[in-house]
Amino acid sequence: MSDVAHAHGHDDHGHHAHPTGFMRWLTTTNHKDIGSLYLIFALIMLFAAGAMALMIRAELFKPGLQLVHPDFFNQLTTMHGLIMIFGVIMPAFSGFANWQVPLMLGAPDMAFPRMNNWAFWILPVAGLLLMASFFLPGGAVAGGWTMYPPLFIQGGISYDLTILAVHIMGLSSIMGSINIITTILNMRAPGLTLMKMPLFVWTWLITAYLLIATMPVLAGAVTMLLTDRNFGTHFFNAAGGGDPVMFQHIFWFFAHPEVYILILPAFGIVSQIIPTFARKPLFGYASMVYATASIAILSFIVWAHHMFTVGMPVAAQLFFMFSTMLIAVPTGVKVFNWVATMWRGSMTFETPMLFAIAFVCLFTIGGFSGLVLAIAPVDIQLHDTYYVVAHFHYVLVSGALFSIFAGVYYWLPKWTGHMYSETLGKWHFWLSVIGMNIVFFPMHFLGLAGMPRRIPDYALQFTEFNQIATVGAFIFGFSQLLFLAIVLKTIKGGAKATSKVWEGAEGLEWTVPSPAPYHTFETAPVIK
């Protein structure tokens, strides 16, 4: 951390005396500091949740129970999911937003810097609560990241702590979103109209609205769990006249938009990178904006595609099936536009571009398996099998996570003032992309053959594909150490980055020096 501190520290031309050391980071209201904090937090949590995933895969290397107790296995799958979503992907995107939104808009900082500081610093508290619950009596929560009752109203103390952590993480992202929306709507440089904003800013604007609309609903749902657990209410307790299926409706009303919260900023990052390395403006800018908005709006009416097996009437199943398929249309528009941007461009393949291209190809595979799952009669077969696991890892690992890698490589020179090692970056890319496919592609077959998810043991005929997946997982997992090394090395030193960094880069962030000074755009630039 202190290396980053110095990197920014000596660019600070002393507007005020800053505290140093840990206090500097604890009290900072600077959007670049806070952006770095979010990214560092996400990176640490990536390794924590990644270690859990490797334990899961190690247990699944052979049928039968060998390494971990089944209850601990369930804790691992639950916490892996919760932490990857709330502790890695979302904070990483917030980190990008904090760094890039003011830079891309020509704003001096975020609209509410002090709230920004709070939004970040409550996150590690939630992270600690989650990690600490492993050491409490009964262990961490083991009911699945989806927190379904009745399991979630039966567990011990760690269930209450996890509910508290979810509240904190929700509060953090709501504060972050309020900041982002206000910054985007009120603090753009003169002349920077909405339809001239970089696509990354657009996707974050829409994501922030999604967060404000859905995070409070999740907060409501987990509050009901909490009162069912501790205060004798019966929202979901069938014994008291409640309905556990109702939890699923409320939860997925939040959680389907949530999966778009996890992917829209990724769309934004990729839409910045592909034009840069294809040296062509983004194809169909306006259609990209409208497609993002339609995805966001449609995401509110498809939630029950996660619930085809709860016994909905046929009419409802048909509605959710067709509305889900409808989302594939704007998603297809986006994929088309990325491909059209590359079409006849003068492409070069630096690491960010490699990750962006892998994103386009592999995310599309995830989209297709999503379409398969959207078919209600098919989903009744595939629900809660490894096919679903394959689907959401294609959209979340090769989608969201790869876009984060792409974005880090793309903007790291701007943040640190140093170029990363292209050779090592390419190694990281190829190991990741190969490893990722070895882990998750066989899971499609496992799911089609009927292997259920979230089970520490399996029937003998699933052995080979599970062993392949486990080997892939260790390749993928350990290659992320290379990523850590590359990032640390780039922070410490490396070839000096120019302000523009990339030949084809466009936008305000490339007009400030690299590393970006501690304070930028104190007088707003004018956009013609």
């Binding site: 509410f112 309020i178 929306i181 206000t182 009120n186 409070p216 509050t223 409706h249 016994g311 009437p313």
Partner: protein, 180 residues
């Protein structure tokens, strides 16, 4: 700008609180939707409905009850006749009373009229499956649950189900009755 930001903040906080309320509003909303559309009743139907039922045909079932002369019991069906569809799951009850002053073990034996109907009469639950012990003066209601096989021939319009109770300790008058 700071002014505009504060206004924006207020609006967004109100939106957040409204959505928090909306989460709770989904509870009554959920029950109302289920009630109005009958959605939750919908799956009850799909679960319980027996696709084998043939609603186009009706068969009259007559219930008959007898007691062997050695047994001091009173025995009668709750309903004497009933119209059912082949394939339909039906439950009826019989009432039996031990009129003597000591406990007795009895066993009911069914018979069918016409006798060929026996092949289509599928009993799922019946007091005739086990011996029944009645204390002195005790009265008991006993269920029979059955399905008339949809394969039952279409000329069959009336079936009689008849039970006779025997005292299992005394030698019964007819030793050949088939137990069903």
């Amino acid at each position: 700008m700071a002014d505009g930001n504060a206004k924006m903040l207020t609006k967004l906080v109100v939106a957040t609180l409204a959505m928090f309320g909306f989460g709770f509003a989904m509870v009554p909303f959920y029950y109302k939707i289920c009630e109005v559309t009958g959605i939750n009743a919908g799956d009850e139907q799909t679960l319980v409905r027996n696709t084998q039922v043939d609603p186009s045909r009706s068969v009259t079932i007559q219930f008959d009850a007898n007691v062997n002369e050695t047994l001091p019991w009173r025995f009668k069906p709750e309903v004497r006749t009933m119209t059912v569809h082949p394939g339909q799951l039906v439950q009826v009850e019989y009432v039996v009373t031990n009129t003597s002053a000591h406990p007795i073990v009895g066993q009911a034996v069914p018979s069918y009229g016409p006798a060929r109907a026996a092949a289509f009469f599928k009993k799922i639950e019946c007091f005739c499956f086990t011996p029944q012990t009645l204390a002195a003066g005790e009265t008991r209601r006993m269920p029979v649950m059955f399905v008339l096989d949809p394969a039952v021939e279409s000329e069959l319009h009336t079936v009689t189900l008849s039970y006779t109770f025997f005292d299992t300790d005394k030698q019964a008058v007819t030793g050949t009755a088939k137990r069903g």
